[in-house]
Symmetry: C4
Subunit: 224 residues, 4 copies
C-alpha cells in the first residue's frame, strides 16, 4: 500500500497491492469521464475507448473492455493489461484499439489516452482526408493544449487513414508520434480523435479542446 | 417462475408467470431507454415507440401504449400484445405502428424493435426520398451494426414512403425485409427510423449508430 | 374543496378554495415544464411565459410572473390573474404578454398557453417574415397536433409582426384566431412561438411538435 | 456580520467578517452558474472565468482560480483579489484575464463579470473581425439586456483583437468602455464573450441573451 508502484519490481503472475489501488482510483475516474462524454454524444453506440497508466515498468494500463455502452461505465467495465495488450486484471477483452493506446504511452510517455468518436471529428476527418490533416490556428482555445502559450500557435491535427489491422495502424501511429513528438492528438479518417495527457485531467481537457475546435472549424467553413 | 416461457404452451385467456416477470424486466429497460432518447430529442411530442419480445410461440411483445410522453415512461406505459396487436396484459392501446414491430420480429426474428423520430432522420429521409434510400459507407461507426467487421462496409438504409394505412405499410415492410434480410434498419419518409436487434441492448446500440451516422451524412453534405 | 370552480359564482375580492388547489396543481406542472424547456434552451434569459386556466367564469389564469429565470421556476414564480391581467393571487407582475394569453384562451377556449423563444423559431420567423407565415406539410410529426390524422396535413404557421404594444398585438392575435380557429400556433417575428392546448399536456406536446418541425424546416433548407 | 462592507474602512492585511460571508455566498452562486454553463458547452476545457464584486472600496472581487475544470467548481475554486489582481483570500492564482474583470468593474461599476467561450462566439468573432463588431437588431431577445425596452434596439457587440498581453488588453477594454458606457458586452476575436451586470443574476441573464443571439445570427446567415 502506498509504495511507489512505478519503480517496484514486477514479478510475473503477481500484481502489486499499490497497483490494485491505482487501478481502482483510475477506473473510477475513467468511468466518470466516459459517462460525461457519452452525455455529450462523443462516444455513442459503444464507440470510444479510454485508458490510464497504472505503472510504466512494467507497463500496465487500465483500459475499457471492448463493446461496452459508455453511458453505463463502472469499475467492472475496465481491465488491466500489459504492453502486449494481454489482460492481467479483471475480466473482458481490451478494446480492439488497445495497441494504439500502448503506442501513444510508449512513444510520448503519456499518462492517459482518450479516444472519442464525435460527429464533428467524423465530419472533419472525412472532409480533410486528402490533406492528411487540418491546421488549426488563431484560436484562444488552443491555449488549453499543454505547452501552448498563445492563440497564434499553429496546431497540426494529422489524419491517418483508418484501418482494421491494428498492428499495422499502431506502427503508423508510432512512426507519426516519433516524427512529431509535439502533437497533442490525431484523427483517424471518418473515425475519431485520439488525444492524451500527462494525466487523466490533462487528457480530458485535451478532448474538450479538440472537440470544441473541430466543431468551430466545421461551422466556420459552413458560414464562409 | 423461471420456466422457459418461449416454449410453454399457450392457453388462451391465461398468461404465464414467467411472462409477467419478463414483461416487468423488459418494460423497465424499455422505459429507461425511452427516457434517454427523449432527453436527446429523438422522441419528442409522443413520437417514437419501443418493443421487446417476451415470447415467440405464442408471440408476445411488450410495447409502448400509444400517445405517451416518452420523457415520463414507466411500467404502466406499456402493454403486452399478441401478433395481431391485441392487448393481453395491461391497459391502453398499442402504438398505431404495432404491426410494423410484429413484421420485423416475425421476418427477422428480432428480440427488440425501436422507432425513433429525430430531426436528422426526418431531414435525411425528406432529402433522399427520390433515391429510395441512402448508402452509408466508409465510417468506422458502421462497425457498431451487428455483424459488420470493417468501416469499408456499405450499409443501405432504405426509405419507405410514409403511410397511415398500417396493414399496407406492414406488408411493404415484410416484403422489404424478406428481400433484404441483412438490413439493420429503414426509414419512413419524413417520419423516422426503425431499427432492431437480437435484444434490447443491441437495438439501443443500433439506434445510436444510425442517429450518429444520419447526422454525419447530413452535416457532411452541408459542408460539401 | 372539490366544488366545480368553473361554474361557481365569483365574489369580487374573494377566491374560491377549489381555485387555490387548482392554482397549486397547475403551477407545479407549469414549473416542471418550464424547467424542462429551459434545459433545452427554449426559454433562455427570462424569455418565454406559460399559463393555464384555473376557471373560465370568471376567467382566472395561472401565469408566470415577469422577468424570471425559467431554470428556477417554483410555485412562487406564478400569479393568478383575471381577464384584464390584474393579479388576484400571489405577488409579482404578470408577464408583459399576459393579454396574448387571455386572447388565446378567450377566442379558442384553450386550457393552457405556452410561449417559447428558441433559436429555431427566431431564425425561421426572421427568414419568412415577408411571407407572413410558413406552411409545414408532409411530416409525420404533424400528427402530434390535436385533430391532425395524416402526415399529408398542411399546417399554416402564421408570423405576426412583433410589437411592444400589447393591446394592439392582442387585438391582432384575436382577429387572427377568429379568422383561423383551426390554427395550432403562431410565431411573432424574430421573437418566438405561441401554442396552446385543451390542457397543459396537450400544450406541452404542441411546443415539442412545433420546435421539432421548425428545426427540421430550417435544416432542410440549409441542405437544399 | 451584516455590517456594510462596501463602506467599511480597509485595513491592509485584514479581511472583514462581512466580506468572508459575501465571499461564501457569491462563490457558491458563481460555482452553480459555472457548472450550468459547462453543461451547455460554453466553458469547455478550463476556458471561461467568472467574478463578482465583494466590496468596492477597497475593491475586492471573488474570481475563479486559473486553469480549472468548470464542470467541477466549488467554493475552493475561487480566490478573492484586490484591484491589482493580488490574492487576499484563498489559495490559487486568479484567471490570467483578471485585469479585464477589474477594468469592467472599475469603468462601469458592474457587480459581476462573466466570460464564456462558446462555439458560436468563437465562430462569430472569427467571421466578423474585419468589421470590428456585429450589430444585432430587431430581435425580441434584446429586451433581456438591461435597459433595453424594444426589439427595435440596435446592440453593437464590439470585437477586440485578441492578445496575450493582459495589461495592454485591459487598457483597450478600459478605453472601449469609457467611450461606449452603454455596451452590454464585447467579444475577443476567436476567443469569446465578456458580459456583466449590476449583479450576478443580471450578468447570467446577459450571457444567455448574447449566447442565444450569437447562435441566431450565425444560423440566420447560413440560411441566407
Amino acid at each position: 500500500m502506498g509504495s511507489d508502484t512505478e519503480n517496484s519490481e514486477h514479478r510475473s503472475g503477481e500484481t502489486n497491492p499499490g497497483e490494485a489501488e491505482r487501478f481502482a482510483v483510475l477506473t473510477s475516474e475513467l468511468a466518470t469521464i466516459g459517462r460525461q462524454f457519452y452525455e455529450r454524444g462523443w462516444v455513442l453506440g459503444t464507440s470510444g475507448n479510454f485508458s490510464a497508466v497504472i505503472s510504466r515498468d512494467p507497463m500496465r494500463l487500465a483500459i475499457t473492455s471492448t463493446g461496452l455502452d459508455k453511458g453505463a461505465l463502472d469499475a467492472s467495465s475496465f481491465i488491466e493489461m500489459d504492453e502486449g495488450a494481454s489482460v492481467v486484471r479483471g475480466t473482458g477483452k481490451p478494446s480492439a484499439e488497445a495497441l494504439l493506446h500502448v503506442a501513444i504511452v510508449r512513444v510520448l510517455g503519456a499518462g492517459a489516452v482518450l479516444h472519442t468518436h464525435s460527429v464533428w471529428s467524423t465530419v472533419l476527418s472525412g472532409a480533410n482526408a486528402t490533406n492528411r490533416g487540418v491546421e488549426i490556428r488563431g484560436y484562444e482555445m488552443l491555449k488549453g493544449l499543454e505547452g501552448v502559450r498563445t492563440h497564434e500557435h499553429r496546431e497540426w491535427l494529422p489524419i491517418l487513414e483508418n484501418s482494421q489491422d491494428m498492428s499495422e495502424l499502431s506502427e503508423r501511429v508510432t512512426q507519426l508520434l516519433r516524427e512529431n513528438p509535439k502533437l497533442h492528438g490525431f484523427l483517424l479518417g471518418k473515425h475519431g480523435l485520439y488525444t492524451w495527457g500527462a494525466n487523466l485531467r490533462e487528457a480530458k481537457r485535451h478532448v474538450e479542446i479538440f472537440e470544441f475546435l473541430m466543431e468551430v472549424v466545421v461551422r466556420a467553413r459552413s458560414l464562409a
